[in-house]
Symmetry: C2
Subunit: 601 residues, 2 copies
Amino acid sequence: MTSHPIATSHVFSTILTALLLLIHSSATATATALPVNVWPKPTSISWSSPYTIATLSPTFQFDSPSSPSNHYLSAAVARYHRLISSERHRPIYDTTTTNFSTSPTPLQSLSISVVDLAAPLIHGVDESYTLSIPNHSATAANLSAATVWGAMRGLETFSQLVWGGRRRVPVGVEIRDAPLFGHRGFLLDTSRNFYPVEDILRTIKAMSHNKMNVFHWHITDSHSFPLELPSEPGLAAKGAYGRGMRYSVADVGRVVQYGYEHGVRVVPEVDTPAHTGSWAGAYPDIITCADKFWWPAGSPWADRLAAEPGTGQLNPLHPKTYEVVGNVINDIASMFPEPFFHGGADEVTPGCWKADPSIQSFLSQQNGTLSQILETFINKTLPIITSHNKTAVYWEDVILAPDVKVNPAVFSPEHTVFQTWNNGPNNTKLLTAAGYRVIVSSWEFYYLDCGHGDFLGNDSQYDRPPTSSDVDSNGDVDSNGGSWCGPYKTWQKVYNYDITHGLSEVEKGRVLGAEVALWSEQADGAVLDARVWPRAAAMAEAMWSGNRDEKGIKRYAEATDRLNEWRYRMVGRGIMAEPIQPLWCLRNPGMCNTVKPFVAQ
Amino acid sequence: MTSHPIATSHVFSTILTALLLLIHSSATATATALPVNVWPKPTSISWSSPYTIATLSPTFQFDSPSSPSNHYLSAAVARYHRLISSERHRPIYDTTTTNFSTSPTPLQSLSISVVDLAAPLIHGVDESYTLSIPNHSATAANLSAATVWGAMRGLETFSQLVWGGRRRVPVGVEIRDAPLFGHRGFLLDTSRNFYPVEDILRTIKAMSHNKMNVFHWHITDSHSFPLELPSEPGLAAKGAYGRGMRYSVADVGRVVQYGYEHGVRVVPEVDTPAHTGSWAGAYPDIITCADKFWWPAGSPWADRLAAEPGTGQLNPLHPKTYEVVGNVINDIASMFPEPFFHGGADEVTPGCWKADPSIQSFLSQQNGTLSQILETFINKTLPIITSHNKTAVYWEDVILAPDVKVNPAVFSPEHTVFQTWNNGPNNTKLLTAAGYRVIVSSWEFYYLDCGHGDFLGNDSQYDRPPTSSDVDSNGDVDSNGGSWCGPYKTWQKVYNYDITHGLSEVEKGRVLGAEVALWSEQADGAVLDARVWPRAAAMAEAMWSGNRDEKGIKRYAEATDRLNEWRYRMVGRGIMAEPIQPLWCLRNPGMCNTVKPFVAQ
């Protein structure tokens, strides 16, 4: 799709005049109006008059004395130097057509100072920074950060202050910035469909541009096991989609390293005990209901064998299970330095365990319940995770599921984090009230895959007589388009979600942050960028500086033009993000608004 | 996104064994089970036992004596020779693991015979062909067609019978094929957002792979006027998004030529008299309500100035209007040899004309109604279209709109075709019953842009307290996701639509065919392929050989695996189509089906 960059540059070479209008409107609207747009919007940003623009010196450089001693910082500095050198993007502003003064002297350098070069990239690390670009551009601009990771955020901000053509940057700028939430993530499911490593790296790069810092890698599931493990080579050999569709140890190392260089933690998830059908190729004995039809004809939903096609759950009563799971956890713990380890534990389906003879006899002999069987699994595997000094992350289901769930006493708040995905903010409330730390991924707001229909075959719901009497008010067979989690989550819906809604201050303190998720039943590399961007960027700003203005009013209206313009810069950087409006709307600020008040049904 | 072809080849190098299962199941299911999948499915296809596979000779060639005398045929032959030579796709079948016999002699050539080399590419041209690949592959395979265009369809079929690696093809195959509908189109809106010529060419190529034959080019609208016209250079100079975002006369010639070489007609639409805001840059005098806010605050929907942001309609009372429209029509008539000319005429908004002083006085002086004003416009412009021996195509609105519409007597069935988009099949019934020919583009089934939310700014509908009590059963603010035409139209919904539902035989004869449409408020080159494919392919098969099996039963279930596999071949050919299922579903035929019966609400 080589035509896009070309198209993009055209866009910018032609976008200038009209865009002038835009910044005027927003300049009057906010005190911090800059000639360029920084996404996510910094916490505090000021541009003091006389509003002045400087060019970047042809010999512009980053002055970073401490870089040599830190590989990740030096890699970031080199990367941003390349990015700024090749930046062609023009902001929603044209200084050439304004009366803003131009500095006689080009900006020579940005000096970077980091207090603590040793601070590791872990949850809660200080990502704050201050960026100062003096009005007298003869003197160097200054980026100060407590850590390497904060410096990377500041470098990203600086890169977005620069625009292409003759490289220019506003001077007299002071930015003080830090994130509201420490966990700003994206989940990618690489089991239902495979993604080449290049797609993952490109996504991590895009995350860093949006100051996101957690790549939640849902590596395995029932559909494929693409991860090659030294102690359990059979799992990928038998469970991957194929030789070319596996992640080698070297691939994982590349992703992890790339993550550090971009300030993005890579949190691995190997979902257990459910969602393990792909393990059956190597270990048929330890997987219950493997390769069965997921929902036997005529049987009620309650008797299904899995949440969707692709059956199979680890058998907690089989000793071999723990040998294999132990090897898997140990390998992954060493492959991923990240302190968080995601154990999954979502959607344990009763029917699948009940279909297994050993579990049947266990139940019939009154030895215990399915919940106790799950508890046995957790009690035997959680210690393996914590033995590596990892914090275990589990999906909320493991203690909130209606049927099969574990006694919360099993999970200590110090070693366990829960990820919520059901019931909007209510489950977040339940878990934080119980003292647990929470990562929010509510499907109603953050599931990026939803809204493209259902993937099931032989589905009669889409076949109805096309007479209007048979078609509902949406002209559709069912109003969410047939996907359980439809409709599509718009960027505004993502942006507006308040993840701490209804929480006390103490409870709010237990919300680590959020993740948008791309489950891959109907996604792969062909659609990755457009499915994720710019909607993940909408969450990124909400998690970094919030979704409200200084007055506490939701700022989605003001954010529209900024996100639209940021989308174009992302495309220019090689991320094929979705357009959110006609270009005409950027050219005609405010003209694409609606005055229709929302009427609650 | 260079990683995709790699990913794709991986997919196929690893897909083979399991796919064997699939063909077994379908082989038992249908009599015409071939080792390869041809999309759209041919009308009649047989493979006689002993089922035999032959390799293509390294010196395989197309023997096409008449090619030299027809540029389009020779271009197609050369193209398919290249495609077959570079084909890497492996079908849902692995002959190496079956007992099918392999022919000792490779297939040497396909000889192509065309009866009428002069038949032009116009609606209704004979696209039938027969393809015969003898069991004794020493003898040449045979492709016979009445016209060059039918030969192109047969070449496409042959290319899909060949698979990569060691190039192989089934022999003992007889195919007799012809389309159910002569008009199988795709509409692209290049005004709301711009598409580089390369995107249009790639789309036309993908259309030819799906035997689609009409590219409906909605070139201009209120948002931009990207078409450079010799007689009216000001329209693009003032109305295009920018210098790099225009189609030159040479660009149009390239698209038209490329279309002919692929058997795809290029039907131009310049929407008038509404949707012409972009004309105001060059001619402010002839555009009413130009550059106004589309829906004044507090005013009722009935008083809006346009259907969406981007106002402006040609003023039928201004003499200059006809001078400009005349020049536009004359230029376009000569730039596009295609006999159909689309005049638009949709969504004339009363408020926009009522806002104009000249029209206000016309109305106040009882000189006529808005409908009569529209009729004046049609009466003065339709003859210009027909003077070029063009068939005028209009949107249904021009005679079916509730408010502003024209007396049907103005339109003769011989010179006019209507395109329906509202009210499912009901408007098709109305128009065909009145004797008109119809092209079906019902938004409820065929609008590919729908389901991604609304593009309006400052839209409060997406901001509600995220408590479950405030969230409806879909967890959403409103169940169609906020876009007027949501939800997303799934491939199944597109596939199942019976465009002649409820019509008499005579009325059915007046349905030329159908078009899926991509309106571009939220689309541009970054998302083009995934928005269009494989859903347009679903319509393509329904229009070519239908959506039912030999018994008249809807065949969406059987089509799922075929479309899934075809999607992968399209990706291999450089079309970044959406995945419709986990790869696991292709590996495990039938296992992704649902047994849930559809329950009408």
